[in-house]
């Protein structure tokens, strides 16, 4: 068989085997992490520091993104709607967009870069410097020590950060409507309340939970399986960010189909 034909076939085969192997590793990591939930004495003390690292430290960047997203959303809504529909619908568009879509997704993507990269880099560095092996030698469960607190912190803190970001986005959109669009507060609030459903907040929280789970899990996975030296950590970090971002968009579509 000629080499030119065999090479792509080999490539597909290698890719398939690696994919299945990665799935197996992910399954192994997931089951190990679930088992490690029993070791509260290991992950419990580290949970708060991870909540601060994953959540509290991410608030500024999330709010920064939300401020400008709210302003731009109000201005673009006004630009699109002027002359066509009443201006109070700017409030409806800002509120719905920030709560349902832009707040969770933009914040999730930003945190995928920040949290996913830091998780993959920290865990990856520990892997390539054999600190994880040292933990195992000391009879510490590395999953309980490194993965579980990060994942739990992500699950707890992502919704908090995203709720704050959405609220700030709406407030800045409101401010922009008052100062730049000559709208009144009554108009904006009327539109804001017009199509609001309490389920919108629940939908955003569910999405945020899944984003937190995915970003921290993917970062931990690539860090845990990093190879080589600093280069391997870099590759793991890059892959973690890319895969997390892709999975956030996939999950966004998935929840929209399932829950809306």
């Amino acid at each position: 068989m000629p080499t030119s034909v065999l090479t792509p076939v080999e490539y597909i085969g290698r890719w398939s085997i690696n994919s299945v192997r990665s799935l197996g590793k992910a399954g192994y990591l997931t089951t190990g992490a679930l088992r490690a939930l029993r070791n509260v004495e290991i992950w419990g003390p580290r949970l708060v520091s991870q909540m601060v690292s994953v959540g509290v430290a991410s608030v500024p960047i999330a709010l920064f993104i939300a401020v400008f997203t709210g302003i731009v959303l109000a201005l673009q809504a006004s630009y699109t709607l002027t002359g066509a529909v009443p201006m109070y619908l700017v409030g409806a568009m800002v509120g719905k967009s920030m709560i349902l879509e832009l707040g969770p997704v933009l914040t999730g993507l930003a945190l995928a870069g920040r949290v996913g990269a830091s998780t993959a880099a920290e865990v990856g560095t520990m892997r390539v410097t054999e600190q994880i092996d040292a933990l195992e030698t000391l009879a510490y469960d590395p999953l309980a020590y490194l993965v579980v607190p990060r994942v739990l912190a992500g699950v707890f803190m992502f919704p908090v950060v995203i709720v704050l970001a959405s609220a700030i986005g709406i407030l800045t959109g409101w401010s922009a409507s008052l100062t730049l669009l000559d709208m009144s507060s009554a108009e904006f609030v009327r539109g804001l309340r017009l199509f609001f459903q309490p389920w919108d907040v629940g939908f955003a929280v569910i999405k945020s939970l899944s984003f937190g789970l995915i970003v921290t899990s993917v970062g931990s996975f690539y860090g845990f399986h990093a190879k080589g030296g600093a280069g391997g950590v870099g590759v793991a970090t890059t892959r973690a960010v890319v895969v997390s971002s892709m999975l956030i968009l996939v999950l966004d579509a998935f929840w929209a189909v399932v829950l809306l």
């Binding site: 608030v59 803190m157 309340r193």
Partner: protein
């Protein structure tokens, strides 16, 4: 350091929870720290009304829709209205659900039944209240734009169908058929008039015969009356012989008169019989003519046959002319 981290994380989490909970309540239109009046509305359909939509009174927003649920059994929908502050509604207060604008937002407006008495409100017992004293109102939903559009579409389809039928009824084909029918009727009328004229002529003849017969009878009766007067005179005079003689003469005359009367009666009877048979014959002829039966009927109804007969006559004329002009061509006389 650890306490500071805990304080920080706890603060952020609490802030997130507070923002989520109070933000949701505020966006639902709930006013914190103020009293609310709860009112329920029963109606058949709520359209696109949703929880959080405005409740208005005389155009002023006074509350929001708190809950919407289908009644047990599915016969009605129950809407919970939460009015800001204390409200005592009028006895005939009802709720009208209608679009607030053309952009999908609806509202529940509290009005009095006397303001819109013709609406088909969901009927509930007067002064109906829930156990907690919560008032229950009747409600009616105004049709939204999409329903009106659907009805207008149906009306437009009906008008289009009607127009199509009018178009067919007054089309060229129908006009041609009506013209043809008028022509046929005109022809039928002319034929009928001709038949009536013929029957009228025959009837006049019959009537004349009857008049003549009547005159003859009157004449005979006059003669008989004169004879009877003479008999009476003879009887009065006592001249029996002459009377007998005269009677014989009169009898003879009466016999003759009777014969005349008999003849006249026979003539009248024959005339009437002839008239009956004439009418019957005329009826048969008319029926055959109408049905196009027979030569004359076919000649009347079948233009082709008429034209062919006309051509035949023309050809016979030509043949006769040729016969006169060239007799030898057709007749040869030879002896031996």
């Amino acid at each position: 350091m650890k306490r500071r981290e805990e304080l920080l994380a706890g603060s952020v989490v609490l802030l997130g929870i507070v923002v989520a909970v109070f933000g949701t309540l505020w966006l639902q239109g709930r006013r914190f720290g103020s009293t609310e009046t709860e009112v329920h509305v029963l109606m058949r359909d709520v359209g696109q009304l949703s929880v959080g939509n405005a409740v208005t009174f005389r155009g002023v927003p006074i509350g929001r829709v708190g809950d919407i649920a289908v009644e047990e059994g599915g016969t009605a929908v129950r809407i919970q209205l939460l009015l800001d502050g204390e409200w005592i509604l009028e006895d005939d207060a009802v709720a009208v659900i209608a679009p607030e604008s053309m952009f999908g937002d609806w509202q529940a407006e509290i009005v009095t039944r006397s303001r819109f008495p013709r609406y088909d409100y969901y009927e509930i017992p007067a002064e109906a209240r829930l156990p907690g004293g919560v008032r229950i109102l009747s409600g009616y939903m105004l049709p939204d734009l999409s329903r009106l559009t659907a009805v207008a579409d149906e009306v437009a389809q009906n008008v289009a169908s009607l127009t199509d039928r009018f178009d067919r009824a007054f089309g060229q084909e129908t006009t041609d058929q009506i013209t043809q029918a008028i022509d046929n009727m005109e022809e039928f009328t002319a034929t009928l008039r001709r038949l009536a004229d013929q029957q009228s002529d025959q009837f006049l003849g019959i009537a004349e015969d009857v008049q003549n017969a009547t005159s003859e009878i009157a004449s005979v009766l006059e003669t008989a009356r004169g004879s009877l007067e003479r008999i009476d005179a003879l009887l009065a005079s006592g001249d029996l012989d002459s009377i007998l003689v005269n009677t014989r003469v009169i009898t003879a005359e009466l016999s003759g008169v009777s014969g005349d009367i008999s003849a006249a009666s026979r003539s009248l009877s024959g005339t009437l019989t002839l008239a009956d048979s004439t009418f019957l014959a005329l009826n048969r002829i008319t029926a055959r003519l109408e049905s196009g039966d027979g030569s004359l009927g076919r000649l009347i109804t079948d233009t082709l046959l008429a034209s062919r007969a006309e051509r035949l006559v023309e050809e016979l004329n030509l043949l006769m002319a040729d016969l006169r002009a060239n007799p030898r061509k057709y007749v040869r006389l030879s002896i031996f």
